[in-house]
Symmetry: C2
DNA sequence: AAGCTGATTGTTAGCGCTAACGTCGGGGGT
DNA sequence: ACCCCCGACGTTAGCGCTAACAATCAGCTT
């Protein structure tokens, strides 16, 4: 790190210092077996002395592998996607990979292709797709791009592997909790229905209600934002048909709480609210939100595990589904 | 994108098809001036026909530039840092750069060095540092690493350039608003004092109060989290010395609101609260939060502007300070 | 008409690395 | 004693690209 102007040392320089050929140095660097202990140590000493670091570009050129994983993400400013990225980054760096990102401002066939092209220009060794739009997977499957693709938030398809939090289980936890409390009229504020998680939660909510012999007719759809939750909350406060609401994420739940508060609807006395995600702030809403925790970092790590196996240097991966967890706080109680 | 098994076309292939030398193709690709219109068009046609894309590794090897910007970030799961990254990524991709990230789980000399080494291994052309710890800049200045560094959230130093939101102005806006409303006892919940923004806001709060001839003795320090805001809020609710609180960020403000609500302290009737950041949820807190908006994406874009000029292909940049904006909602009012 | 200029194109030599193959010697089997 | 094999190295040939220089040719000038 010190010498800023001088040329960086190459294999050749190390070889000279160690009194071997550059190829032997390469072998040491790459942990090839057939190097005697003595030479290995001598080379390692030379590497240390010169502060040698291998040139990624040269290596990539010949191996045709860039040691880089591309992460294609949307909604990166949101808690879930951001933490997933964190998990991926951590696992990738541990495995010696670089992480290149491309954020999508809007999800369209065009923008996806553009980002993928960006990654191919970089010859990434794999792409993690954290764009939980149903459309995305289709778009990706369409262009067969010779590198492994791992999808976040779905189990993938025949062309793409995937890691996800068990949405069905999560919705069951939420709905089950409400049913256990004695609620019979349980509504759902769903996320956009072109989002994988949005439909998954809505379907699981519906299924859980039917299984319990309850009606699943109180369904509304937001756009994940607190604002949309607020609008829906106002309607809900006016109607007062449900005694409990299962909301698709914590942010919409926040909007709901706000609307209920304004309308004089008490939570949980008048209506119970359950969120989804358990973002760090959820425990400080008014009232503290009962919600379903998703471990996004773990999700990201799992993605990277899948990626490594797909690329070929993986160490064998077990599960692809992360279990969610119910966190009970003070936005739920038995109905009046 | 179609041919997955066949070798990707190289300059040579394009050259052959166009009936020119590979160097001429290179010239076309790189927009060198001295190429006749006819050949240029012929080459471009060949490029299009073969779907040629230049090999980054080979190019990097010879030019010693990777077309990659490293973004060193911490707290990526938070609204501010995440959006800054978004701004950087967008600007970088527009300028034809790749964005590589390294997230810091904890900020230490060790972890910073590690991440920087990671970037140097990748021969990044520049590093954007979004780790608003005072310590970070020192650590970075220490190791002179032959590439430009741009710091987010500070104006940098002699070795590092920087882009920031005008924290002083932001704090003035917040405190000024409270003073205008008639408040005389205005407290501050600061962020950690080893964070640049944390001290900047605290100092500006203090300065603004003194200028107005008011006391600046009501200072408490949190860790940016809603939890810490909650703890502080409980104390504040018990003491009831201040009639208004300027909080270092929206999340701590959320905790404060929660604590006040529990303690029966009404906002804004009993005490006014101003936050900082204006994250999208702030408008849906109970009550909706008056806060100071920071345009993080713009901040990220500015960083990239600075980076481009530092690297040398910049188009001349004006300001490095982004103006904050006061957003008045319902958590502030005149004192009783 | 000879020579010069500048625009356009081609040729050559690496960038630093790894894969493939060549070499060399010593130990074990016969 | 001979041969073969295999471990431990070295040598060679690119990977695909760009920089630097060489070559060619048309259009001028004198």
């Amino acid at each position: 790190m010190t010498k800023s102007n001088a040329r960086l040392p190459r294999l050749e320089d190390v070889a000279e210092l160690a009194g071997v050929s550059h190829q032997t140095v390469s072998r040491v660097i790459n942990n090839h077996p057939n190097v005697s202990k003595a030479t290995r140590e001598r080379v390692e000493a030379a590497v240390a002395e010169l502060g040698y670091r291998r040139n990624t570009a040269a290596r990539s050129l010949v191996t045709r592998r860039s040691q880089t994983i591309g992460v294609l993400a949307s909604e990166l400013s949101q808690y879930g996607p951001a933490n997933t990225l964190l998990g991926v980054e951590q696992a990738a760096r541990n495995a010696g990979y670089f992480v290149s990102i491309a954020a999508l401002k809007s999800v369209s066939r065009e923008s996806i292709f553009d980002a993928v092209r960006h990654f191919m220009d970089q010859s990434v060794d794999g792409i993690v797709v954290s764009v939980p739009h149903s459309e995305t997977l289709l778009a990706l499957a369409e262009l067969k791009l010779g590198v492994p693709v791992v999808a976040v938030g779905s189990l993938g398809n025949d062309a793409v592997s995937g890691a996800m939090v068990d949405q069905t289980r999560g919705a069951e936890l939420a709905v089950g909790h409400l049913i256990d409390l004695g609620h019979r009229r349980i509504g759902h504020v769903a996320g956009p229905q072109d989002w994988i998680d949005g439909v998954a939660r809505a379907e699981a909510w519906s299924a859980a209600l039917r299984t319990a012999g309850l009606e699943d007719d109180l369904l509304m759809t937001g756009d994940w934002s607190a604002g949309s939750g607020y609008e829906i909350g106002r309607k809900l406060a006016a109607e007062r048909t449900a005694t409990a609401i299962f909301v698709g994420n914590d942010q919409m739940a926040l909007g709901l709480l706000r609307a209920f508060n304004e309308a004089g609807v008490r939570v949980p006395e008048d209506v119970s609210v359950v969120g989804f995600d358990d973002q760090p702030e959820a425990g400080y809403f008014t009232p503290p939100l009962t919600t379903v925790r998703q471990d996004f970092e773990e999700l990201g790590r799992r993605c990277m595990d899948l990626m490594l196996t797909a690329i070929g240097d993986g160490d064998g991966v077990s599960a692809t589904v992360v279990e969610p967890e119910l966190v009970v706080r003070r936005s739920t109680s038995a109905p009046a």
